[in-house]
Symmetry: C2
Subunit: 410 residues, 2 copies
């Protein structure tokens, strides 16, 4: 196996990432909500660079950028996304797109390399308008009705209006062509401290966790906070607090080794200082790569709610509002990443699940998929201070491109 390190131009990778950072810069990060000017400029930036990588560029009717190759041989799809969370980091998304672009530049122009790398930037991975709208469109899992219903979670602007304003309304949406690709590869910063803490260069993703989400509703009796004695109150807020603590006490005994759960939002109704809340609501989320673990935890949650309703002063109702689907990464893809890591970084890699969602989990529904992580300084994520050492970025690019070669050579 030849050492392909010389084929990757590390300075070019860093310069591209820096160019994308300058579009919509915020402190050391970026602010590029989906369909904002900086986001659209970033899509144009990519589309303009694809021809030099041997790819015909298209921005489709949902805002995906797709670069397609006419080179003979196997085709590997690679990419990530270009919009950002609000006032967030410069690498979450662009890293994977620039790695894919670099792989296409290195491999597609090389007559000795097998096949080609095709590049994708999926629209709205960060969920300003929905959940993985771009990649779901590509795999055929997004209807016109879904698009009709999508709205910007901040401004309320409809997706239809946004598509019209950025000039994409009426364009066809690109769809996956059955059998065209041997699979999909994506790179991302880790968004955690496993690699940094262990002195490792590469994370080989084994699975992407599923996300299950619940609305838990507590009903008591609204009343006057001055004239209602403590012993007759039915305080929905207090019932909610007790339930949160009960989850924290009971879940560790029933969860899997990597389960996480979070109460991200609490609302007391009516929410006034002098009124006992008659109703309270919490948004509760669980993530795991093992659906059986979640089944067990959901049963526990419902049992706890039933007991609290029967024994306490308020009723507790558990409503599942999002059902997760953990996605396994393809074993051959994991092996290829590991082989590249052995060749290029002395095997300083680790197999690990991804706790965050990525477009790779959507692509995995129609083709083999793989993901690799690079280290993330302090594990900071979804914040403008998110960063990775330049050396780690370049090393990641080398492992990524070598993985592409290995997958195409099989």
């Amino acid at each position: 196996m030849p050492d392909n390190r010389s084929h990757v131009d590390g300075a070019r990778v860093l310069a591209d990432l820096d160019a994308l950072r300058r579009i919509g810069a915020y402190k050391t990060g970026v602010h590029k909500p989906t369909f904002s000017d900086p986001h659209m400029q970033s899509l144009q930036w990519l589309a303009q660079r694809l021809p030099a990588a041997g790819l015909a560029a298209e921005i489709d009717g949902i805002g995906n950028v797709i670069g397609t190759s006419t080179k003979a041989g196997p085709k590997l799809l690679a990419g990530s996304h270009l919009e950002s969370q609000n006032y967030a980091g410069w690498l979450d998304g662009p890293l994977g797109v620039v790695y894919a672009l670099e792989a296409a530049r290195v491999i597609n122009a090389d007559p000795d390399a097998d096949g080609s790398v095709e590049v994708a930037a999926w629209c709205d991975e960060e969920g300003h308008f929905g959940s993985f709208l771009g990649s779901r469109s590509y795999v055929g899992a997004l209807t016109e009705d879904d698009i009709d219903a999508a709205r910007d979670r901040s401004s309320g602007r409809t997706m239809r209006d946004a598509l019209r304003e950025v000039g994409l309304a009426g364009r066809p949406r690109a769809g996956a062509e059955r059998g065209r690709h041997i699979g999909y590869l994506e790179a991302h910063i880790e968004q955690g401290q496993t690699l940094e803490g262990g002195g490792l260069a590469i994370g080989i993703v084994t699975s992407i966790v599923g996300i299950w989400q619940y609305r838990i509703i507590f009903e008591g009796e609204q009343n006057h906070a001055g004239t209602t004695r403590m012993d007759v109150r039915r305080d929905a807020g207090l019932a909610l607090a007790r339930f949160c603590v009960a989850i924290d006490d009971r879940f560790p005994g029933a969860c899997g080794p990597r389960t996480v759960w979070t109460t991200g939002r609490i609302v007391l109704d009516p929410g006034a200082p002098s009124i006992i809340p008659g109703r309270a609501e919490m948004l509760f989320q669980m993530r795991d790569d093992d659906a059986a673990v979640i089944d067990r935890l959901e049963a526990l949650l419902r049992d706890m709610a039933a007991k609290a309703s029967a024994q306490g002063r308020c009723t507790v109702a558990v409503e599942r509002i999002r059902t997760g689907a953990p996605a396994l990464m393809n074993a051959a893809f994991q092996q290829a990443i590991e082989a590249a890591s052995v060749a290029l970084v002395g095997g300083r890699s680790v197999r690990m699940p991804s706790g965050a969602g990525h477009d790779a989990q959507v692509l995995a529904s129609i083709m083999p998929a793989g993901m690799l992580f690079v280290p993330s300084i302090g594990g900071v994520s979804h914040h403008w201070s998110e960063n990775t050492e330049d050396a780690d970025i370049v090393t990641g690019a080398e492992v990524f491109v070598d993985t592409c070669r290995r997958l195409l050579a099989r």
Copy 2:
């Protein structure tokens, strides 16, 4: 002691209350925010009826209606308020105003009765713009700066703008004349079920509780709900839930017999389902008629916060944002109400504190003050379905007027 029952016109009392209900009616209640059209019409309604009760009417520069008498002899001030909470009940406020009006009609025209009853409707008891602005103005505890700073809690409209729009800007504010009144008497629905549950007709208020309010702030670390392991999280929302439960566990062992405490509002920051809250805040309120009990509970609260900060993963800060002052009702006023109850309802009365705040607590800072309660069906309060049986309303008016006679005859 003569039976004064025949002097009160129960049908007139019920007709007056019904007339006030028709101004700004909402279902069986009313919607009369401070300085709304229905509120201003209600003030005019009262001002037009005062002359027939032997009183000169004035609407002053803060929206108080004051009726003054030129009759010789002692003067008793009586009243309540005419604005309502949003979409609330028909009796909270008007009952006390109409009782005062009826007392003035019965006593002021009677040459054999000692002295006179003067009538007040205090503006904004319900706190749309502030805290007891009308009665505080009358007792000299409201500065021009306070008025400059006051805003409608719903719309944000300044009090100055509102006063200008309703035509009260520039009018003088009426102030209490030292030594003019022997004291202040107010009637109100109970807003609880003590009277109804005990088959009682009259509550003799012994004290009005003080309200202490706190902002309790929890600081942890905001992070990704998918990639952050449970064992390294610093979840401010969970710290808040544990603190709420700890209050509920610890306070019963330290509180007084009638202390109440309430968490009316909780906010998690940033409040998104996939983000571990880095900051959380709760509004916490305690009420008691004994400041020493509150001192003890506040010390416990601060001690719990310090221990939680030292031992837990988040810091907890307790900030007092409102300091209460319990008000004792005058003993002679309590005796007069009790004597009237013995004479008219066979002593079916009980001495009790008021858990809700009333203008009487403000008036009590400059003169003897007393309050009586009438039963409230189901204890419903601050809701349009609030109600009291007609017979209980008329009985309350008879006891109220007899109490006025007794106080003026002393």
